[in-house]
Symmetry: C2
Subunit: 376 residues, 2 copies
């Protein structure tokens, strides 16, 4: 192991420089426990959990392992409640109306709602008693006083950068290590410094581009993002996005990573809660890489996230400007997803996946982790 990897492992108190990416909707404490017990850093995605669920999951982790673990939160600014908001929601539901009709869903029965809550002082109160050793964020960092509270109990703070500018911002605002999230990664892009004048960012953006496509052009592949972030910051850099094998881990280390974060490959593991439909889609993609087609889509949450192309992405376009701002797009899609899944169809399901599903294996997470280590 390189000296930077050894330092990173010492910083977090882990054995192997390998983080299991937090993946809301496809895993809970069981996967995190398995990875942490095996010497990596297991992660619990908290963005879609209630405070009670978060407590229950933390207690499950603590009961099962004394090893370090990571709690992951989103820290998006909720969309501004402008006069346009109800109109945008109405336009979105109008666009989905043919699908509601197809599935005999009464649109009036569908509640609006956020679906994902950002980290807050209240959530910090929920986790503080447990002094979680690592807390990672997506979409920037929470308010400075919350970062300070985590650090005060000895917690290490991680966050994702999708550009060199974001990496420098995170370092300046106290991140202990930076996850360089290449465009290959599955799930949500961690983009948080968005603006038309790239390189001229004043801070966290509260504005949501209506059409994300030009903004997405800032997003780099792991092969270029990783070494450029490594050259631009002093804190350790964790490579993420498209790493799916021991060879991929070695390549990331060659490009300067102190550690790697792997998501997609863990989604078929015994301890993951990935649905059967999602498992089938990943299994097919792993066997047929010439047909493995993912897209960054805003349809499921309002922010770009990478998933396997399905019917709704094909029919509405993966980036559809009618989808309301993050995270409010989710509510209107939820009943369609539920109705289709009941008939065995993933037409409206977010099938999160990175651009390389070939590492997915239906084995215990500890087995997969061992096989991903460069020493394997």
């Amino acid at each position: 192991m390189s000296s930077s990897s050894l330092e990173f492992c010492a910083l977090l108190g882990i054995t192997h420089p390998l983080i299991q990416a937090p993946m809301a909707g496809v895993q809970g404490s069981a996967l995190a426990i398995a990875v942490s017990q095996a010497g990596g850093l297991g992660s619990l995605p908290c963005a879609m959990l209630s405070p009670e669920q978060i407590k229950t999951e933390i207690e499950a982790i603590r009961a099962a392992t004394a090893k370090p673990y990571n709690l992951n939160f989103f820290c998006h600014a909720p969309p501004p409640l402008t006069v346009a908001t109800p109109e945008r929601e109405a336009a979105w539901r109008k666009l989905l109306a043919p699908y509601y009709a197809e599935h005999s869903i009464d649109p009036a029965s569908i509640p609006a709602g956020a679906g994902r809550a950002p980290f807050s002082a209240d959530l910090c109160d929920v986790i503080a008693p447990y002094k979680p050793p690592v807390v990672s964020f997506h979409f920037g960092l929470p308010a400075p006083e919350l970062v300070a509270r985590i650090k005060a109990w000895g917690g290490k703070v991680l966050s994702s950068a999708t550009t060199v500018a974001e990496a420098k911002w995170l370092e300046a605002h106290g991140a202990d290590a930076i996850i360089a999230q290449g465009v290959e990664a599955g799930g949500h892009r961690g983009m948080f410094l968005c603006g038309n004048e790239h390189g001229v960012h004043e801070g966290l953006s509260n504005t949501f581009p209506k059409d994300w496509r030009d903004e997405l052009s800032t997003q780099q592949g792991t092969f270029t993002l990783l070494p450029q972030i490594v050259a631009s910051v002093k804190v350790p850099v964790i490579a993420a996005g498209g790493i799916a094998s021991a060879q991929g881990v070695q390549a990331a280390f060659k490009l300067g990573a102190s550690a790697v974060q792997i998501g997609t490959a863990f989604m078929l593991c015994d301890e993951a809660t990935t649905s059967q439909l999602h498992r089938a889609a990943l299994t097919h993609c792993a066997a047929h890489p010439e047909q493995h087609h993912t897209q960054l889509t805003t349809l499921f949450t309002g922010r770009p996230a990478r998933g396997i192309t399905n019917r709704i992405m094909r029919e509405l376009g993966s980036i559809n400007t009618t989808a309301p701002a993050f995270p409010t797009s989710t509510a209107a899609m939820a009943p369609l997803r539920a109705a289709a899944e009941k008939t065995g169809k993933a037409d409206f399901s977010p099938l999160w996946s990175g651009q390389n599903a070939s590492g997915c294996r239906a084995v215990p997470a500890a087995v997969l982790l061992q096989d991903l280590l460069p020493s394997a």
Copy 2:
């Protein structure tokens, strides 16, 4: 060197498994000669040269070195001349009208034209007497009889794949090695199997999507494209896209590459013909990676190609559906480019660049090549 790299070098008769990417507009025979003489494979971009220029350049290469060299051609299907074509050209010029006015250009004075000719039997006749040892293609492969002619004189045939499906197609149609072109790469995406139903391709596409953006979602980063192509074909795979250092070369080899192709890093070399404006832009990007912002744009040729964001890309959007089909977008932009460059502005210039300019160095190409080798 790995056994696959040794085999690749033996196949092409080169010393180092490193190809200098053909880069039309920023280099000619001088750069190709320098790289070939240094033991790599130098490449001559022929797509924008007349038959006479191609002959002159080949003769310059043969006079300067006995080492193998590569001739690169495009093999796009010219856009169909439908009734819509003149209307699309007119709409394009209307969109550019304010810029013509700003630069006192009479739109009636601007000729239409293709700018780039595809490989053909006539061009094959031009190069055949020289029996070029390597011929590489972009946008697929030419007609089978032309591939056969090249092979008959002992020429090796390379082409770029941007998806696993394209790699399998190239292997089935006779490519001796496949360039896995990750989305980080500068210049034109080699995409040639385009269709809305991904994975269901019947052959070369003659249709040009009007809005390339959904199609671009098929494009993978080097980190995932490379190993998935390596796993899917039997011929050697050359990694391209975002490789800018010896560490990057090593990482590509870890991911299964038999060789690497590097473009951007060579653009400041003494032997390149890169304009001063273009050199200045690359130098700035290399020094300020947090401001290095490239985009895939159709504005300059009609097909997606990666360049540094400039005024016209910001103002019209990098993918503008009004831009006519490849390669006819070029003609209307040419006088604007010329006028602006005269005043020291790159507002309308295609500033081709990959997503990592940090490897650019103003040194002789042989020096850069040595520093890129893993043994350095």
